[in-house]
């Protein structure tokens, strides 16, 4: 398994000028490493919708790579988005699913089924490619190749569970910041 910190550091190394949509535990770790906050979109007020919002950005800004750092519990609440994304065939969308098998932010309760083959589901839905990583060195060496192929791609990362480590940034404060944050991302995209 890969720990959250290593995973986001590796992804950040290959980020370049990608928009990065994050949700739940991934947001907290991503914000600790991101060097392009103007291109970060933390979904703190809509669990499960990160993949759908990222699809909208990917369609609307087709010359910009869009990364979404989703969670397994979040994706389970919006599984149809795999089909919607595949139907649109956004070559610039890279859908990471951090799989810890649990609802970490609420204390580590298990998912309805913690053993789900997300890459197989993505491929069945029509994603261009999908694979699992459970080793940090392999992720670091192979991620440029993943980004080098057109999406939509699903990158399944088996992460070390950290139940309720420090909570998620799902507060009044983060929700209050969202309108300004999204407008900052909108300005950054339009300034390109």
């Amino acid at each position: 398994m890969i720990n959250y910190r290593d995973a986001v550091e590796i992804i950040n190394r290959d980020r370049k000028d990608a928009v990065c949509v994050t949700t739940m535990t991934q947001t907290r770790y991503w914000y600790a490493v991101s060097e392009r906050p103007e291109l970060d979109i933390g979904i703190s007020n809509g669990m499960s919708k990160a993949s759908s919002l990222a699809l909208g950005v990917a369609i609307g800004a087709p010359d910009r790579r869009v990364i979404v750092l989703d969670g397994d519990g979040s994706l389970l609440m919006n599984l149809g988005s795999l089909v919607t994304i595949a139907g649109q065939k956004p070559g610039n969308l890279y859908h990471f699913v951090f799989d810890n098998g649990m609802y970490a932010v609420t204390g580590g309760q298990p998912l309805p089924n913690p053993k789900v083959d997300y890459p197989a589901m993505a491929l069945a839905a029509g994603y261009a490619h999908a694979r699992t990583f459970s080793d940090a060195e392999e992720l670091a060496s192979d991620l440029p190749g993943v980004f080098g192929r057109p999406g939509p791609a699903l990158v399944h990362i088996a992460v070390t569970p950290e139940p309720a480590a420090a909570g998620v940034d799902q507060t009044w404060e983060s929700n209050r910041k969202m309108p300004a944050q999204l407008r900052a991302a909108q300005s950054a995209l339009q300034a390109r």
């Binding site: 007020n45 909208g56 950005v57 369609i59 919607t84 999204l182 909108q186």
Partner: protein, 167 residues
């Protein structure tokens, strides 16, 4: 009784005038002729979703990317979209026009369809402004909806109170 018809071509003309770039939709029985007309319009890209709850976040993403989307879903789908409406439309001050199929609508208000009975109280509860369109004669309400959404920086609904006519 509703007089007149709602012609999909007239509605699409309104969308083109408003510089709409994308229609995010899950088709319903009231809007099927509208769907046929939309996919023939080259300036508006139709994005089908698997469930209505995806429509608002997809539209939010398009808006962040500088596009000008609308959504089209049925009233039952709007109820299904409740948390997205709360968090990713109202909660982010999204100026989004939502075309909502008003299943069960009757002008006199007496309807056995709970999807119709609940719709307007639901929108009032959420503080979402709306305009009802029953025929081509009401289409001046479409630009009003866009103006209201922009001015309030909030979602605004256009309730489609009749089935679009077949062209």
């Amino acid at each position: 009784m509703i007089t007149g018809i709602l012609n999909p071509a007239r509605v699409v003309e309104q969308l083109v005038k408003q510089r709409v770039t994308h229609m995010v939709t899950l088709p319903d029985s009231e809007t099927r002729h509208m769907y046929d007309r939309l996919i023939a319009e080259p300036t508006i890209h139709v994005i089908p979703v698997s469930r209505e709850g995806e429509a608002i976040p997809v539209a939010a993403g398009l808006w962040i990317a500088g596009q000008r989307p609308v959504i089209s879903i049925q009233n039952a789908g709007l109820f299904e979209s409740g948390d997205a409406l709360r968090g990713l439309a109202i909660g982010i001050d999204l100026p989004l026009v939502m075309f909502i199929g008003y299943r069960g609508y009757t002008r006199h208000g007496d309807t056995p369809d709970s999807a119709a009975r609940i719709l307007e109280p639901y929108l009032h509860l959420w503080g979402v402004d709306y305009f009802t369109v029953e025929s081509d004669a009401d289409l001046d309400r479409v630009p009003m909806a866009f103006e209201r959404a922009e001015r309030r920086s909030q979602p605004v609904a256009v309730l489609i109170g009749t089935e679009y006519a077949k062209e």
